[in-house]
Amino acid sequence: MGTNRTDEILMIQRAQQGDALAFARLHDRYYPVIYRYYYYRAHPGQSPVELTSDLFIRMVDRIGFYKPESDHFLDWLFSLARSILREDLFSRGLRFSRAEEGPAMQTRQPTEPLSSKEVSTAEGLRQALALLTPEERDVLIGKLVERRSSRAVGREIGRSAAAVRMLQYQGLHKLGASTLKGSEE
């Protein structure tokens, strides 16, 4: 683990010096992770593929600002990914909505039930997550799909670890209720 971290830091340092091979390796390592990030968070009309590609373009520009001692590289990439998503929404005229502003990408009414079978695929999960508020969705994706800590997810969305746990509880409660309804039918 420590060696992996050291290897990664060395690779990042090489990339910061402009080494093309190091950039290629970082791209290969993080492309699937970033694609998954956008797959679950992109709004209808946004392309996860384009957003992922834009992220790596941004990474080339900004990698000089990354400091290994202050943050994990993946968390830094996620923060870049989040700002790209936000900018893309602004450019499309959509607001980047928080929980209090209401779900921005709701594609299914909360009363509409989901079956457990539907949630077993990535597409089904994406649709199920559309029932939640953006913050609940971010928390469930961060915690259960990306398997990050409450602290890391909280840092990304600007909430405390306790608030993240509460959002996780709410989100799972809503999803649990929906899937129950769906399976009962």
Binding site: I57, A122, L125, L144, M166, Y169
Partner: protein, 215 residues
């Protein structure tokens, strides 16, 4: 019956916070490959709710990762590498432009001019210094001796303090007499000419007379 109600509205904040922590702990255990705990709370309804939430969480954990469409990763990498190459080229151009703007390189005409001027000034300074040092060692009869006399005259002319000026005049007078004697001794200057020069010397130094007058 209470499964569909929003728990944050039904219960007070502390209870929900505690249940949220219980759920998080259970999820932590789940993610580390442990089985679902059978009971989490003394409240049967809450236990059922937590169990359902954990099952949902388990279902989410089991969802396979979405695969990017084929070819997109290669395209994205190619795009990134293109941008990287453009960025490197732009950086190199910028560096070159900075060096060019400094004008110190031989690649630019005025840069060449500046360097040649500096070299010319340095060379002239070395030449002048060598000439002055050589002249100061010259004796009567040498072609450099008039230069030595001129340097002495300039020095006297540039000394504005009358007492210092008088001192320098006396010192140079003495030096000239010694030079004449040395030149004669070395047979570089005819003795008769030396005698004549020594006789004429006081009249050749008008400053001396001025000094005498001011005293």
């Amino acid at each position: 019956m209470s499964a569909d109600r929003d728990p944050t509205r039904d219960r007070d904040y502390v209870h929900v916070r505690d249940h949220a922590r219980d759920l998080d702990d259970a999820l932590e255990a789940l993610q580390h490959g442990k089985s679902l705990p059978s009971e989490h709370s003394s409240d049967a309804a809450e236990t059922a709710r937590l169990r359902r939430m954990l099952e949902t969480a388990q279902a989410i954990l089991n969802v396979p990762n979405p695969e990017p469409p084929s070819g997109t990763m290669v395209e994205s990498k190619a795009r990134m590498m293109r941008l990287l190459a453009e960025k490197k080229a732009a950086d190199a151009r910028h560096k070159e432009a900075v060096i060019e703007d400094l004008g110190m390189g031989f690649r630019k005409a005025h840069g060449r001019g500046v360097i040649l001027t500096i070299l010319l000034i340095v060379f002239s300074f070395i030449l002048a210094s060598t000439f002055v040092v050589s002249a100061l060692q010259a004796l009567p009869g040498s072609w450099l001796y008039p230069a030595k006399l001129t340097i002495q005259e300039i020095h006297i002319g540039l000394t504005f303090d009358p007492f210092l000026r008088g001192e320098w005049i006396a010192r140079y007078h003495q030096t000239r007499l010694e030079d004449l004697q040395k030149a004669v001794a070395l047979d570089r200057f005819p003795q008769a000419d030396a005698q004549a020069t020594m006789t004429a010397m006081p009249t050749l130094m008008p400053v001396d007379n001025n000094l005498n007058r001011s005293q």
